[in-house]
Symmetry: C2
Subunit: 530 residues, 2 copies
């Protein structure tokens, strides 16, 4: 047995009395790594260290923070194959998938490092003084984004690397200038420990203040809530279930000082197939849809869960879907609890009058059947769908439902009634899309990302990504958790009035040594201010 | 008696049964304008109309919205002197002040019109496809801000024009593409009616959809809460007291679908005088501080309420303050309730052991003494201040307290313990400011605007302004309610994946016909995409 410890800044700590083990969902056996749940004093210690570290860390230059992020990336690579095998053993995810996710994690860190080096993200705005303005002089006002304070990050079960200890939330918060405390997900604590130590090493190597990063093990309901309620914590990043995300939100908004919670809580990502697209490429859509639903055992936030298409007398699309879906494979789910929830949700769908089981995926039995979810495709019609709100809810796992609609008007009606989702997708020919412009308009109001003639699974990490959407897909529709804009979750604007040039932050001085883009008296320029 | 009606889109409505009158705080008499509190059905009607109007309004071009805002500005000017005299009679504010505020209101509308015409505010980001990328093709992703939905605005008592019916919240929400429903402040309903009709006229003249604007009269606790709780309302703008703002926030976050509340709840705007500055220009600071405290009868959100300086044996600064403050004038407060609260707060301060009354302003008796607040300057030392949390709280009105500190370390200690404020101010010589860099660092974490060698009263309306700050000065430290960045309170980002060029919004098409600044594959440019 290897006992891992809480990472509290540059210290290791092991004061907790309740022990748990890393667990392998594919074998239903414990791994050799053991952990204590953080003691209350350890939680306080991590927050106090972070608050102290903040005073130095938020003043670090973009270059310094960039080097820190790149060193984290290098240390993650340094962790080598151990990271891959440990992560695979905790999540049931194939090694190739984890290797890919490691690449994404490293690239995210590098993307934020590049953002910091370029520097314009601070949105610097300068309005120069007009001392002789009538009736009142105009002062010199200079604006930029600064870090908000200590951030608590809750790792996601389904992205043990890319949305966990050194994932997108941590990378964007550290980039913003915020110390980070991660509450490790209990489904992959050993993976978390490896990555946490990589960050700790990188912080030391780059002379970051003690407390800029901590990693704690424990339950969401105790360790998690204690962190969210702590007065020195200023924002929260979370990816996971609606239930857990909403609980953190409720805790945060009822604090004496409310703080923002950026909870990405998943969604069922509706897909709309228009008639001509179905005619032209129905078979290809059926195959790709089946793959998109079941990719990663359906454990992505962006797997599509509902497919709408117009009912017609030609059964070929339905038959294609059935055939393609039956080719998909079962797979090990991340945790026994998720597997149990999946089975229950599938059962509940089948109990709805008017819902049929159209197809099930192939059942693989290569690991004794532990926590293996079989893909299921349901079908129903619009009447049943409209009368059964539970059918709109996400099933976390490789399940989806097809819904036939009576025509364009009913499709628009259903779209109008959708709640918030991370994504929506439309398949249509160009002419047809033009006819369905109203559907595009409705859906852009419901989602963070609208996909045309593609599939939502797979989130491109880039400057233009919005991985977010109206409630209940997130608790803050104005934010994204993927892409460079994610940094703004952890910053706020501040302005300086008549501040002497020598005391201004580098980004706001007359001389633009960083050569960043600034708005000077309403004009966008990367030149000096004369 | 003139009975005003609810403005519900292009209709007037008068279904309420409870009547109230416009009231003159300077005479304690009712004005001739009467109002009904909105009936519940009228509130629902306004929201339903707004939700319907949203579908057309958020698609209006920047040019169309700019013309709408400019027409509102013109219609406000068209309302002529009536607006000034009615507003003065409801608020006790002098006509010159209201004329100035009308100018600011009109300029705010024009500022947002200019922002819309320039167009780059949508933060357009384009990442082009790389179809042959290995291992996965990169899709085309395009990002921009769109309107969030119907916005409810609560007018502020202390800015009956600039932060009321057509004030900063309304201007920024309409600019964003959001229909607006204003809950008129009961302290200036007749002013609200005039401005509301100006907006209604402007909407008609520019062919805006019915429901893009409504104006309702009623209490915050009934009409206000009904609006905030309505499922079709998507955001709230508010300026006023902590109690009222926090109540709206609590209502909004406990909705089934939580929504953002941008409540600017005022603050006591601490001012720090460093020793050399005091030596060099103590008399001028004393005079300007007294003016800043009592300007507008102390009814600005940014009047400074606390002055810190180092205790010393030379009493000249204290004496200057006393002399200057005694020259300030009493004035009529906006409402009898505010006057009552002011008197109570002053009394409570004086009951604190260790607090002295250093000076009172001149008492004017030219209007029979109705609701006339006399300026009061308290003084105390740091020990008393630290032990009496009530002394940190804002007194709405022309009162302020001076606090002597034992030296730099104690000043830093007190600054560290401050809660969030809209502004903080430091007076110091350039060398001295460099010595007190730590104070600057502490204060920038506490406020939205840091003023050097000036006074916080008076908020410049420009692209670089932050009128906001950490809780409890606002409910969202990431926002500003003044300046062009205020628009982002009412927008959210959305991205389009592989959307055909013909269907993209104008801002995201390959050809940049609007010539806006965009981020294309990480590069900032106002050119077309080839």
């Amino acid at each position: 047995m290897i006992k891992e410890k809480q990472i509290i800044g540059y210290q290791f700590s092991d004061e907790g009395s309740e022990t748990f083990f890393s667990y392998n969902p594919a074998t239903s056996l414990n791994n050799e790594y053991a952990f204590s749940k953080a003691a209350s004093a350890e939680v306080d210690k991590a927050v106090e260290k972070a608050a102290a570290a903040f005073q130095q860390y938020y003043k670090k230059s973009g270059e310094e923070k960039a080097v820190f992020l790149e060193t984290i990336a290098a240390e993650i690579i340094n962790a080598g194959d151990t990271l891959i095998t440990v992560c695979s053993s905790e999540t049931g995810l194939p090694q190739a998938r984890i290797e890919g996710e490691r690449g994404r994690t490293v690239n995210q860190l590098k993307m934020f490092a590049a953002l910091l080096r370029e520097g314009s993200w601070v949105d610097a705005r300068i309005e120069t003084a007009i001392p002789d303005r009538i009736p009142l002089p105009k002062p010199d006002i200079r604006y930029m984004h600064i870090a908000i304070g200590t951030v608590v990050v809750f790792g996601a079960s389904n992205f043990p690397l890319a949305f966990s200890v050194a994932g997108g939330d941590t990378a964007s918060a550290l980039a913003a200038g915020c110390p980070v405390i991660v509450k490790a997900h209990s489904a992959h604590p050993a993976t978390s420990a490896i990555v946490g130590k990589a960050i700790q090493t990188a912080a030391r190597k780059t002379n970051m203040p003690d407390g800029v990063f901590s990693l704690l093990y424990g339950d969401g309901t105790t360790t998690g809530i204690q962190l969210v309620k702590h007065p020195h914590v200023k924002a929260v990043g979370f990816t996971g279930s609606y239930r857990a995300g909403k609980a953190l939100y409720d805790a945060a908004v009822s604090r004496p000082e409310p703080i923002p919670v950026y909870a990405e809580m998943g969604s069922s990502n509706p897909v709309f197939i228009l008639p001509n697209a179905m005619k032209e490429k129905g078979a290809a859509i059926a195959a790709a849809y089946s793959g998109s639903v079941t990719m990663g055992v359906g454990q992505f936030c962006t797997n599509p869960g509902i497919l709408f298409y117009h009912a017609n007398e030609d059964d070929s699309f339905k038959n294609n879907l059935k055939t393609e879906f039956e080719k998909t494979n079962a797979g090990v789910m991340l945790t026994p609890l998720m597997f149990k929830s999946y089975k229950e949700a599938v059962k509940q769908h089948l109990q709805v009058n008017g819902v049929e089981q159209l197809a099930v995926g192939a059942i693989t039995t290569n690991n004794n059947g532990n926590n293996i979810a079989t893909p299921v495709l349901f079908s129903t019609n619009s009447e049943t769908f409209k009368n059964s709100p539970s059918l709109s809810e996400e099933i976390f796992g490789p399940a989806s439902i097809t819904v036939t609609t009576a025509g364009k008007n009913e499709m628009l009606e259903i779209a109008t009634k959708l709640s918030g989702h991370l994504t929506a997708t439309i398949h249509g020919t160009e002419d047809e899309l033009d006819d369905y412009k109203e559907l595009i308009n409705i859906l852009e109001q419901k989602v963070g990302r609208l996909v045309i003639n593609g599939f939502p699974t797979g989130v491109e990490v880039c400057s233009a990504m919005v991985h977010g959407g109206p409630f209940p897909s997130t608790t803050d529709s104005k934010s994204t958790s993927v892409g460079t804009a994610a940094i703004y979750r952890f910053t706020r604007p501040v302005c300086y009035q008549n501040m002497p040039d020598s005391l201004l932050p580098l980004e706001l001085k007359n001389k633009n040594t960083l050569m960043i883009w600034r708005l000077i008296n309403g004009e966008r320029t990367n030149k000096d201010l004369n």
